[in-house]
């Protein structure tokens, strides 16, 4: 198996997934655990993932109920060493067998640190995994509507309760659904381009998802319409970028994104509190373009980029990181509590 990069770099390694070729945008993630959650995160659609932690596969793969979506979303996996044996009470199969069954190629024996440094210096780039010496043409997945690829096709209802939350699925992780579905709440999960403005609801949630947010015109338009009401809105990751775009701001592509479980985000409204967050995004909000009714909520303590926004007067807020964790730290799970509290308040005031 060979990993071929857009800058003509060719790295030879050992295949441990499906014996097939694939292309995608090559990105790296520095998390030390959570490959199952990461691989099934729909935000990775179209990407070849490099894991910087050198030993992967140690605890196998559990039942699908622990996945973040129905299956693997990455196009390919790159690791330093694949652990042929695994040990965990929850494991049902090995990582290799799962990758093979899912038709996802994977390569081991790669100097992932050197590769990561290259991506850091040159920015994320296109690449491909080539099996059996096949030549491959590198395709840019960002030209595709990745959100449309991963969003559900039909709306779905979770839970039953008087409070109704619309969750726009742009590639929503399962743990978000788990975090929102609480007693007394009905979650209506809708496709990315679903016009939810006609629905009755008490809260609106905008999910994470893959790729360039500007591809989601339909969603942005719907959010603009939602802004006409005072109903609470929470955005996560791509949802944050969509909210910003709907508010009139612009987004840009980060050189190599934030993909890790250790990103420090400062609550700038408080100033002294910083949270360790799980992240997976390649785009960010352009600070200068943020309309004045909006304020920055969180800031990345490493590079100063915007990690959360809040409207000055309306109950609309969004975070660029993943409060639902999975994988990663659970420190910001309170974001859901705050959102649901504002939904409850809204419901009470409009009863």
């Amino acid at each position: 198996m060979k990993l071929i990069l857009a800058d003509k770099t060719v790295i030879e390694g050992k295949s441990f997934g499906a014996e097939t070729s694939a292309t995608g945008e090559v990105v790296f993630n520095t998390g030390m655990v959570g490959y199952v959650e990461t691989l099934t995160d729909p935000s990775y659609q179209g990407q070849i993932l490099v894991l910087t932690y050198p030993l992967v596969g140690n605890y196998g793969v559990p039942d699908p109920e622990f996945f973040e979506s129905t299956g693997i979303h990455i196009s390919g996996l790159v690791v330093s060493e694949y652990s042929e044996t695994y040990s965990s009470a929850s494991a049902k199969q090995s990582l290799a067998s799962w990758l093979k069954k899912s038709g996802i190629p994977a390569i081991s024996g790669v100097d992932t640190r050197a590769l990561t440094k290259k991506l850091r210096e040159k920015g994320v780039m296109l690449g491909g995994l080539s099996a059996k010496g096949n030549t491959i043409a590198l395709e840019d997945p960002n030209k595709r509507n990745l959100v449309a690829e991963v969003s559900i096709k039909e709306k779905r209802v979770y839970g039953s309760g008087p409070t109704k939350i619309i969750a726009v699925d742009c590639g929503m992780k399962e743990n978000i659904v788990r975090s929102l579905t609480r007693p007394g709440i009905t979650v209506l999960r809708v496709p990315w381009d679903y016009d939810f403005t006609k629905e009755e609801y008490d809260g609106l949630f905008l999910s994470n998802g893959p790729g360039d947010p500007t591809m989601c015109d339909a969603t942005i338009q719907n959010i603009k319409n939602a802004f006409k009401k005072d109903i609470p809105i929470l955005g996560i990751c791509l949802g944050t970028q969509l909210m910003a775009l709907a508010a009139g701001a612009s987004t840009y592509k980060l050189k190599y994104g934030h993909r890790s479980q250790n990103q420090p985000c400062t609550d700038v409204t408080v100033g002294t509190r910083c949270y360790i967050t799980s992240q997976n995004h390649g785009f960010a909000i352009n600070r200068k373009t943020l309309p004045k009714e909006w304020k920055v909520w969180f800031e990345n303590a490493n590079d100063g980029s915007i990690e959360g926004i809040k409207h000055s007067s309306k109950p609309w807020s969004a975070v660029q990181f993943h409060p639902e964790a999975s994988p990663g730290p659970t420190d910001t799970a309170w974001v859901f509590d705050e959102f649901l509290a504002s939904v409850a308040l809204y419901k009470k005031n409009h009863a």
């Binding site: 790296f28 520095t30 655990v33 199952v36 910087t52 932690y53 479980q261 999975s326």
Partner: protein
């Protein structure tokens, strides 16, 4: 932010001992640096003179005083600090801080405790409070009952059902803890435990659960991060200090990892820790249930490890947080770009392995369990488990080349299944043996509870070894085995090649390692880090070679005989080189050291001190010169091999170093120079050994070159004892010759530590041992300047030193040991390297010997007038023992070194310095009751004047049968104590248990011959000594020390002991 204190008192941890070692030199020095950066004056109290933290230029004021409430109060009274740090000196500092708080001293003098408040420390230390506090937030602890008496403890155990765990409150390193299977066993353990701690815990036994640790940091603004998590190789039941530990965890799923992380943060927030703390868990391997085992609200061994494992400067940050700073305002010192509020991402793994030295003790138990017995540790960095495992095993310096392919019987375990089931210090080799013999991973897992993932990796190593044996050595296979951590030597052993040939082959086939950085962020941000390791899992170096620097080889693991003093020396070399404008490259792998701190060298290779690895580094970095003379024997041993490989060694030439090391050449050299030495012979058969001993005359000192079990050195008093030792302990053959030398009785020992330049002696210090020859120099009480040595003897010693220095053309440090008896001066040993006592002589004389040695090695002129003999004060260095940890060992001074550390104190007089020094090592002055038990006529007669002195002081004596009789005939009253076997009252056993005794003076008849102790039929003497240790009663076993002690006590008398700072003892003061 709260008001910054102006002056802060920092409590150190004292002498190195099992459970509390060099890691606190690291944490204390970092704390001092952090405070200095803030412009705060620092006062340090620590009698450990071999530490970097007690160096000039670090703390503003240093007190070499016992870490007791009495002395701490005096220091506070004198210094009037406005704040105190308790979290940087281990359990010792923490307990002292709690005592100072309880007695109201801190309040009286308005001393604020920085960082974690005292009430929180109490919550973590008092088991009952701890469980209560955690249950408030629904955090689960092991089911546990605190008991303050035997009755309650027995009741609690019955409730929990046997087996149960017993633990002591306020203890360090799991001291006094263990598995108890029955009520009678419990009662025995309790009797001991209540002598050491007011509180004993009876806990549910969590055998087989995974043991996991988290290092948590919290600031005063509630920002809370987890710097590192670690997974123990051995499941619960083996103390984390006794287990191999990997970081990060390897077999925890995301859910487990982050659930425990969440619990950690929740717990630490609820408790209110400010600074650094460690939380330990048991995690059930199948149900995922957890129990919090303990929280250490201070820097610990684990936090030192976590700091080195991640590159996150935990101690430094903890000190800043204690001042009330926020994690958001402190920079990540490694990247210089990001902030301290983040969690390190590792793109490598580390493995810590404990180093034991139990074979130095004849009857010591080698099983491992819930009590810590290891004396040091190593940490290996790499990118696969196989790689770090094999590296770590080599790093132990126990003669093993890796997990497998070891020469020598010591690593082939006969009863491997038994040692897997009931772990011993050799468990890892027992696993190797089992895998070799085809035992399945599943079977080993069942016996040991070790997670199969680790065992599978170990099996990979064995499988690769098999392939190496069978297959042709292709480039692919060669790379694969190197990635699995095989050394060239191992590959050579397996494929029947020399190490040199394998290295050459690798060079030809281009199978070479790469240098990688530890940057705390897995490459996400560019980092300015100097922290490096070497791996075969990679194709690209992270760094370009440096500016042709000078490499300093460190000392490897702390062990008995090689401890913090060699790290001190290495650090002095680094500092001097930097001051001289040289680029420095440090090579060492001991996570408990200061030399491996991120701010000590231009480049730090956390790597093996093997010929192979040092050559890799030297060749990559194009090193100009290597300093091998300050890391003890570990680095010294590399002198000749490196030299033969064309590496430039700074200082004395390796050929000359070797001339001093090789017994034959050195002996001839002494003869040539007309220097006297004890007679000796090297022999290859037992018969010849017997003849030689007869010729030399008993007693003789026996030193085998190969040891099967037990201690490596012995004194034989007659042919019978010689033969017994040779049969039991050693292999005598042409391959493994033994050396027998004349043992000179009642001789005194003096030492010269010095520095020479091009064969000229430039500076030297003469020290004198309190104990006569027969006590290892590392276990001796050492005095500077000498008190009993004639000026003429000193002159002669100096003349001898000059001759040796000239002959060996020494440039750099050296040490010569002499025997002095009746105007005769004999040389017993010369080391052409820095010795253990260099920090002591440097700090006492006020001249930094290593700085001078380094300058000499650089070719600088260091000549000058150094006044090292005429001092207006006296300093005494005392050994720190860890016998309480080494169950079954006889705490009797011997030719084999047994101490794990040392302390020192200054005084205006010898008696004052001696008492303070002894107290610094944990000795408590008796108030009333002393047990005297003297074996042999000579001991009785010679100690009589000392006993008379004690009598004048009004002590009450207890004495064993013969001693009592002897004392009576000399008009000294004592209460007779019967032999244990007599069953009479009062017998030795009942008296010891009564808790009455405050001092025991026990002199063995033939103290030098260690036989008949322990075993099935222990002598009363052994029981007295052992019980003294187990019951924490001060003990003196050496006659000269007993004499000195009695003299000191009577001379100091009511004057008391002064609490003066180090500065007050400066020569021109």
């Amino acid at each position: 932010m709260p008001k910054k204190p102006k002056k802060v008192l920092i409590l150190g941890s004292g002498g190195l001992r099992i459970g509390q070692a060099g890691e606190f030199d690291y944490s204390g020095s970092q704390a001092i640096k952090a405070l200095k950066e803030e412009g705060i004056r620092t006062v340090l109290m620590n009698p450990n003179i071999a530490t970097v933290q007690t160096d000039k230029g670090l703390a503003d004021t240093v007190y070499f005083l016992p870490l007791t409430e009495h002395f701490a109060k005096e220091v506070i009274e004198k210094e009037r600090p406005d704040a105190i740090l308790l979290g940087f000196g281990g359990q010792t500092a923490l307990n002292l801080g709690l005592a100072l708080d309880k007695s109201g001293v801190l309040k009286k003098y308005g001393v604020e405790v920085l960082g974690t408040p005292v009430s929180v420390i109490r919550d973590t230390e008092d088991r009952e409070l701890f469980i209560k506090r955690l249950s408030e937030i629904g955090v689960v602890t092991a089911r546990s009952f605190a008991a303050e008496n035997i009755k309650d403890a027995v009741k609690a155990a019955a409730k929990l059902k046997y087996p149960v765990m017993i633990r002591m409150g306020f203890a360090l390193g799991g001291e006094g803890s263990g598995l108890v299977r029955s009520e009678s066993e419990l009662r025995t353990r309790l009797a001991e435990a209540f002598h050491r701690s007011p509180q004993v815990l009876i806990e549910e036994y969590l055998a087989g659960w995974k043991e996991v640790e988290y290092e948590v940091v919290r600031d005063a603004y509630d920002n809370c991060i987890v710097v590192c998590n670690m997974e123990n190789f051995d499941p619960m039941g083996v103390h984390t200090g006794e287990s191999m530990v990997v970081a990060p965890s390897q077999t925890l799923t995301n859910e487990e990892y982050h659930r425990l992380r969440e619990v950690a943060i929740k717990t630490i927030r609820h408790l209110g820790v400010v600074g650094e703390c460690n939380i330990q868990y048991a995690l059930h391997p199948t149900t995922g249930e957890y129990r919090v085992i303990e929280v250490n609200a201070r820097l610990s061994r684990s936090s030192a490890l976590a700091s080195k494992a991640t590159g996150y400067p935990l101690a430094f940050i903890a000190a800043k947080l204690a001042l009330g700073q926020s994690l958001l305002t402190i920079k990540n010192a490694v990247t210089q770009k990001t902030i301290a509020c983040f969690e390190p991402a590792l793109d490598y793994l580390v493995l810590k392995m404990p180093r034991w030295d139990l074979n130095k003790f004849d009857s010591a138990v080698t099983s491992i369990g819930t009590e810590m017995k290891s004396v040091g540790e190593v940490m290996a960095i790499g990118r696969s488990f196989e790689e770090v495992l094999q590296k770590a095993i080599r790093m132990l310096m126990i003669g093993a080349d890796g997990f497998t392919a070891n020469k020598g019987e010591a690593f082939h375990i006969e009863k491997y299944l038994a040692e897997i089931k009931d772990p011993t210090t050799r468990r890892v080799f027992a696993v190797a043996e089992a895998l070799h013999r085809g035992v399945s991973v599943e079977e080993i897992h069942k016996l040991s509870g070790i997670t199969t993932w680790f065992l599978d990796k170990m099996k990979n190593i064995i499988e690769l070894e098999k392939r190496l044996k069978k297959e042709t050595l292709t480039v692919e296979l060669l790379r694969q085995v190197k990635q699995a951590g095989f050394s060239d030597k191992q590959i050579g052993t397996i494929t029947d090649k020399t190490e040199v040939a394998v290295r050459a082959l690798r060079g030809k086939k281009n199978v070479t390692p790469v240098v990688k950085q530890i940057d705390t962020l897995a490459g996400e941000f560019p980092a300015k880090t100097n922290y490096l390791y070497v791996t075969y899992h990679g194709t690209e170096h992270d760094v370009t070679p440096g500016k042709k620097g000078i490499a300093v080889l460190g000392s490897g693991p702390y062990s008995i005989g090689s401890s913090v003093e060699f790290d001190w020396s290495s650090v002095q070399v680094l500092k001097t080189l930097q001051a001289e404008g040289k680029e420095t490259v440090m090579i060492n792998y001991n996570p408990e050291t200061v030399s491996t701190d991120y701010d000590m060298s231009d480049r730090l290779y956390f790597e093996e001190l093997s010929l192979e690895r040092v050559l890799d580094i030297v060749q990559f970095e194009k090193i100009k010169g290597v300093v091998i003379s300050t890391g003890g024997q570990v680095s010294n041993n590399l002198a000749l091999p490196l030299h033969k490989n064309g590496v430039k060694i700074l200082g004395t030439t390796p050929e000359n170093i070797d001339r001093a090391e090789d017994r034959h050449t050195f002996s001839k050299l002494l003869d040539k120079l007309n220097i006297d030495q004890p007679g000796w012979a090297e022999l290859t058969t037992r018969k010849a050994a017997g003849e030689a001993a007869m010729r030399l005359g008993y007693p003789v000192l026996v030193r085998p070159s190969y040891v099967l079990s037990g201690s490596a050195m012995a004194i034989a008093s007659d042919e019978k004892s010689l033969m017994r030792f040779l049969e039991r302990a050693v292999d005598v053959s042409s391959e493994h010759p033994i050396v027998i030398s004349k043992f000179i009785e009642n001789a005194r020992e003096i030492e010269i530590d010095g520095v020479a330049s091009k064969g000229k002696l430039e500076i030297y210090a003469i020290t004198e041992h309190v104990e006569n020859a027969g006590t290892h120099s590392g276990d001796a009480t050492v005095v500077l300047p000498p008190q009993r040595t004639y000026l003429e003897t000193i002159r002669r010693a100096k003349r001898i030193a000059k001759k040796v220095v000239k002959e060996l053309k020494i440039t750099g440090p050296f040490n010569i040991q002499f025997l002095a008896k009746e105007n005769k001066l004999q040389v017993i040993e010369t080391n052409v390297r820095a010795s253990r006592s260099f920090p002591f002589v440097s700090k006492v004389t006020g001249y930094n010997f290593i700085e001078l040695a380094t300058k000499a090695m650089l070719g600088k002129d260091i000549s000058g007038h150094y006044q090292t003999l005429e001092l207006d004060y006296v300093a005494v260095k005392s050994p720190q023992f860890s016998y309480s940890r080494i169950k079954g060992a006889d705490p009797l001074g011997y030719v084999e070194m047994a101490s794990t550390g040392e302390v020192a104190a200054f005084g205006d007089s010898y008696p004052e310095a001696l008492l303070k020094s002894m107290m610094s090592a944990g000795f408590r002055l008796p108030k009333k009751n002393i047990l005297i038990s003297l074996g042999g006529e000579e001991n009785k007669v010679k100690l009589l004047p000392a006993i008379e002195k004690l009598k004048v002081l009004g002590f009450n004596f207890f004495a064993t049968e013969h001693t009592a009789e002897f004392l009576k005939t000399h008009g000294i009253a004592s209460e007779l104590v019967h032999k244990i076997k007599s069953g009479k009252k009062e017998n030795v056993g009942t008296l010891l248990d009564s808790g009455k005794l405050e001092l025991i003076i026990n002199l063995a008849n033939r103290g030098l011959v260690r036989e008949g102790n322990g075993g099935n039929n222990p002598s009363d003497g052994f029981i007295i000594r052992r019980k003294a240790v187990d019951l924490n009663i001060p003990l003196i076993t050496n006659r000269q020390l007993a004499e000195a002690f009695a003299m000191a006590l009577s001379e100091v008398g009511k004057k008391g002991l002064e609490s003066k700072a180090w500065d007050a003892y400066k020569k021109d003061a």
